[in-house]
Symmetry: C2
Subunit: 204 residues, 2 copies
DNA sequence: CAGAGATTTGGACGATTGACAAGGAAAATC
DNA sequence: GATTTTCCTTGTCAATCGTCCAAATCTCTG
């Protein structure tokens, strides 16, 4: 456990944790622009009201900072599908709203998704924030699985796959759509919507 | 066009191009170990019979070197499925051998695949070797599509998807299997084989 | 108000990076 | 065998990196 964590315990109020979240948010925006490798802590500090030295006051090192940043973003990201799963009345409605959400997040948060895949790959080389990445991966897998099982339930049948396979598929088509979109293919926004609905409903 | 290309033209024999391939091969092995960002040109030169300065004699810059390296590896990689497509007598045989090849390359060349996904992601931030990455992506997409269409042909029916969607699916399950495998899940080797056959044959 | 603790700053550190230049060694050419 | 061209090495360059620290500033308590 680093010095930062110790200091956090001493702080009776969570002013410390609050600043941590603020700084991590700024770091997220900074790193999303140029990628993890090419973004220095000075670039992060530049987008902040604080200075470079303060980053090490709130974070142990760069990995700690980026790990916190991607975690608080993605954990919120994964929860975005909960209301859809809970409130959808029919399988068709669930599928439609799911596809709509997938399409919208591709269009509006392409840079953040690009960063996520960047960090997930870096975690295959470094051990820095590997645990955080694995946790997020599990979160996303569970999210996909809850959508799949809920759809099957509404349709009155059993899911055709398991959680791991389902996540692999949806993650795969989303990543490929993201790449196409970032390369200038604006049609990917509509394609990922249709493909998501298709994959969920099993319509070929 | 860089100085290197000009020099290559002057050279009547292709001694120059030969050395380029050798060096690019060494670079591939070096970068595959620690990733693109964390591997310096000195690390590459250390795995070579030549010195650091020689790298700039044969390559314009780091991007040129890595671009050449990943190209000559992946272009060979994509051709590995050609004999299967050409010689398979039945759909079942095609599917089996395809799944076997996917599984084998995951097991034997995990580091190289990890590097490929690393570089493909970096190309979403930099323009350095973006064109090379896009070319490789097209190569892989065509390879997958040739397998899918050949299978449909042997089975006497039409493909159920298009080339882009098919590549997205196979690439997605392979990437997820690679991640699982690199995280220590040795069962991913068998799972990608089964999943590949399933996805190709359409068996749910 | 005085002091203690928390927060923030700017600068400096050693290490590493990609790129490059000047010159020696090798090979090819005449 | 001399000279030109190709090949390769060593050393250096400025820039950038993550990390750390001493001191200044701010905030709160006694």
């Amino acid at each position: 456990m680093g010095d930062v964590a110790v200091r956090a315990e001493r702080s009776s109020v969570d002013k410390f944790a609050l600043r941590r979240r603020e700084l991590a948010d700024a770091a997220l925006a900074a790193v999303a622009q140029r990628g993890f490798a090419k973004t220095g802590l000075r670039d992060v500090a530049a987008q902040t009201a604080l200075s470079l030295g303060s980053l090490h006051y709130y974070f142990d090192d760069k990995d700690d900072l980026i790990g916190q940043a991607i975690w608080q973003h993605k954990s919120e990201c994964a929860r975005r599908y909960d209301p859809i799963v809970e409130s959808a009345q029919t399988g068709a409605e669930l599928a439609d709203r799911f596809g709509e959400e997938m399409s919208a997040t591709l269009r509006d948060e392409a840079d953040l998704h690009r960063l996520w895949y960047d960090l997930r790959n870096q975690a295959l080389f470094d051990t820095g924030f590997r645990d955080t990445i694995i946790s997020i991966d599990a979160l996303l897998r569970d999210m996909v699985w809850s959508v799949v099982t809920r759809y099957a339930e509404l349709e009155g049948r059993a899911p055709e796959t398991d959680a791991v396979s389902a996540y692999a598929m949806f993650d795969g088509i989303f990543l490929n759509a993201l790449i196409a979109y970032l390369r200038g293919d604006t049609g990917a926004v509509e394609r990922i919507r249709v493909a998501s609905v298709r994959l969920l409903t099993g319509t070929h």
